[in-house]
């Protein structure tokens, strides 16, 4: 089988990748991203506001044909050739003929030894700042829990305002800028060539990402060339050129929201209540309507050690550890894992809270591993729930997305 070699090669990847993948992931229990989970090299994501509405459509494997070029598009997991789903949808729906897109290249950039050494040092510095940010986040959260008696989940949401965290975040962003900028400059020659090539095809450079003010948002390791404007025909001319990836929107989008996964906490709470700012805005525009929300509960219960969890799980399946290891069937192993997960996630605890605070008509479902429940609430009810200490915060369902995105208004001068 031709994949045997590939499987064997994957089996030999660096050990740190093997252990990091299986280590406990903070996101699973907190529904927030702590800066320690920041990735250095991130795909550039461009989300035009209206594109959020088109995501549902694109997930359904639509096949469409461009009326002008007659090219047929069949979508597979959001990618059409090398054009991402947002740009694809923009071209499908919009009447405009001018689009903006970020273009990334797959060209290899060879670094000189000096550049490599310098960038490696900056990478190390960035990594140190990341650790400091992570520690500051945890310390600030713990201080808040101790001083205000709030849950850790709420503390994580309120951490933006904490001086230590703000300082650590600032240092991290500066280190990130330095690192990205060093990469971009080291690759400037080949980048220039690529940009000139695109210009020769009619693409117009709208934002040069090597401009220092943008370098916090782009990772050079993903070879972002810039934001360009182009016509539909020009974009389609690159459709099958695998050297590029295109992400974008039409000009009616007015603005792009883009950024990479250099994220902190994804949700921001109002200062006067436990609603996220976005949810409050939704409610203020529709005060009488029920909104589907995500309620994250605080946890004030017992923290179990791994040994205690194992002991409880063995007890629940009625076997000793030795019996389990010697004679457990797969059914028992699965049952054991389920019980163990429920203990780790405090599933019963959160289920009780959901039952206590939500009526049957409000309740939709419980997501135990993130300690949250989905429900339909009116503004009045949401504000009422904010008064309970057991409620950490309330957000719009699916409000959290990966990464922090920064708006850039596009100036179309055509």
């Amino acid at each position: 089988m031709k994949t045997d070699l590939l499987q064997d090669a994957i089996g030999l990847v660096k050990e740190e990748y093997i252990t990091e993948a299986f280590s406990k992931n903070k996101r699973t229990s907190k529904t927030v991203i702590i800066a320690s989970a920041i990735s250095l090299a991130a795909c550039i994501c461009i989300i035009a506001v209206w594109c959020l509405n088109s995501n549902k459509e694109t997930a359904e494997n639509i096949i469409w044909s461009d009326t002008k070029t007659k090219i047929e598009f069949s979508e597979d997991n959001g990618l059409v050739g090398n054009i991402d789903d947002n740009l694809n949808s923009a071209m499908k729906n919009a009447t405009d003929d001018v689009y903006a897109c970020v273009i990334t290249s797959f060209d290899d950039y060879k670094l000189t030894a000096d550049d490599y050494y310098r960038i490696e040092q900056l990478r190390q510095k960035l990594s140190d700042e990341e650790s400091k940010l992570s520690i500051a986040a945890e310390n600030c959260a713990n201080d808040l829990v101790a001083s205000k008696g709030i849950s850790l989940a709420e503390a994580h949401m309120r951490i933006y305002t904490q001086p230590d965290f703000k300082k650590a975040r600032e240092d991290y962003i500066n280190a990130k800028k330095e690192y990205n900028y060093a990469n971009l400059i080291a690759q400037s020659d080949i980048r220039k060539d690529e940009i000139e090539h695109l210009k020769s095809l009619g693409f117009k450079l709208l934002i040069d990402v090597s401009d220092e003010k943008y370098t916090a948002y782009f990772s050079a390791f993903h070879n972002v060339l810039g934001i360009f404007t182009a016509t539909k025909d020009q974009i389609l001319s690159l459709k099958d050129d695998t050297n590029y990836r295109l992400y974008g929107a039409n000009k009616n989008a007015e603005k792009f929201t883009f950024g990479d996964y250099f994220s902190d906490f994804e949700l921001e709470l109002c200062e006067d209540c436990k609603l996220t700012k976005k949810l409050k805005e939704v409610y203020e525009n529709n005060p009488e309507e029920e909104v589907t929300v995500n309620i994250t509960f605080g946890y004030f219960g017992k923290e179990y050690t791994t040994q205690e969890i194992d002991a409880l799980a063995y007890e629940a399946i009625g076997m000793t550890k030795e019996e389990f290891e010697q004679s457990a069937t797969m059914e028992i192993v699965n049952r054991f894992t389920e019980i163990r997960n429920n203990l780790i996630w405090h599933a019963d605890y959160y289920e009780n809270l959901a039952r206590k605070y939500l009526t049957n008509s409000e309740y939709i479902e419980l997501t135990a591993y993130s300690g949250s429940a989905t429900a339909k609430l009116t503004y009045k009810r949401a504000l009422e729930l904010c008064n309970y200490n057991d409620i950490a915060y309330i957000s719009i369902k699916d409000e959290q997305t990966v990464g922090i995105y920064t708006d850039i208004k596009l100036g179309f001068d055509e």
Partner: protein, 186 residues
């Protein structure tokens, strides 16, 4: 018991080493084996063989990362066992899908250079993984190293299953391009 203490037991040829390895890493290795083999007996055999290989390898080896060291052995032994079976149908229900997905990385009109060694290819894959955002790398490893189901991965990372599938698809596409550019797919 700390890993360093465990390794000391191996070095002093104390058979408690195997017992303690079983206590600490038995479930971990079993999960890897079961993800690939989907059979209790075969998985247990793989895990027991893992202890034996570890016993024979330490010393002279002194693994810095014992979990990864043991996991690698279990994975290799389980894959070897699976390949020796007459058909993939005896593997986990998940395994043929994983194989099929990896096959997609090599276009049907192309193949991997047969003179190539896995070690050489893994250097290139490491380069590729290094450039990936953390979460993509983790999802990729969970799927193609640990052979986890997309459902399990989605739980592990709190992603929807469709998001996991999309991440995997995009990462495979990138890997194909990377391997083509590096000249490994011909």
């Amino acid at each position: 018991m700390k890993d360093s203490e465990l390794i000391d037991l191996y070095f002093s040829r104390n058979q408690l080493a195997i017992e303690e390895t079983k206590n600490k890493y038995g479930h971990y290795c079993y999960k890897i084996a079961y993800n690939i083999l989907n059979n209790n007996e075969d998985s247990e055999e793989s895990v027991n063989d893992t202890y034996l290989v570890a016993w024979n390898s330490i010393p002279p080896q002194s693994p810095a990362n014992l979990a990864a060291f043991l996991g690698k052995i279990t994975r290799n032994l389980s894959l070897k066992k699976l390949r020796s079976m007459s058909a993939l149908k005896r593997g986990a229900k998940n395994t043929p899908t994983v194989f099929h997905e990896l096959e997609e990385c090599i276009p049907s009109n192309m193949s991997i250079d047969e003179n190539l060694e896995a070690k050489e290819l893994s250097i290139s894959i490491n380069k590729f993984l290094e450039k990936l955002p953390d979460y993509q790398r983790k999802v990729f490893i969970c799927r193609y190293w640990y052979f986890e189901s997309t459902k399990d991965i989605s739980k592990r990372f709190s992603f929807s299953e469709s998001k996991v599938k999309m991440i995997l698809k995009r990462t495979r596409d990138k890997l194909t391009l990377h391997l083509e550019k590096e000249g490994y797919i011909i």
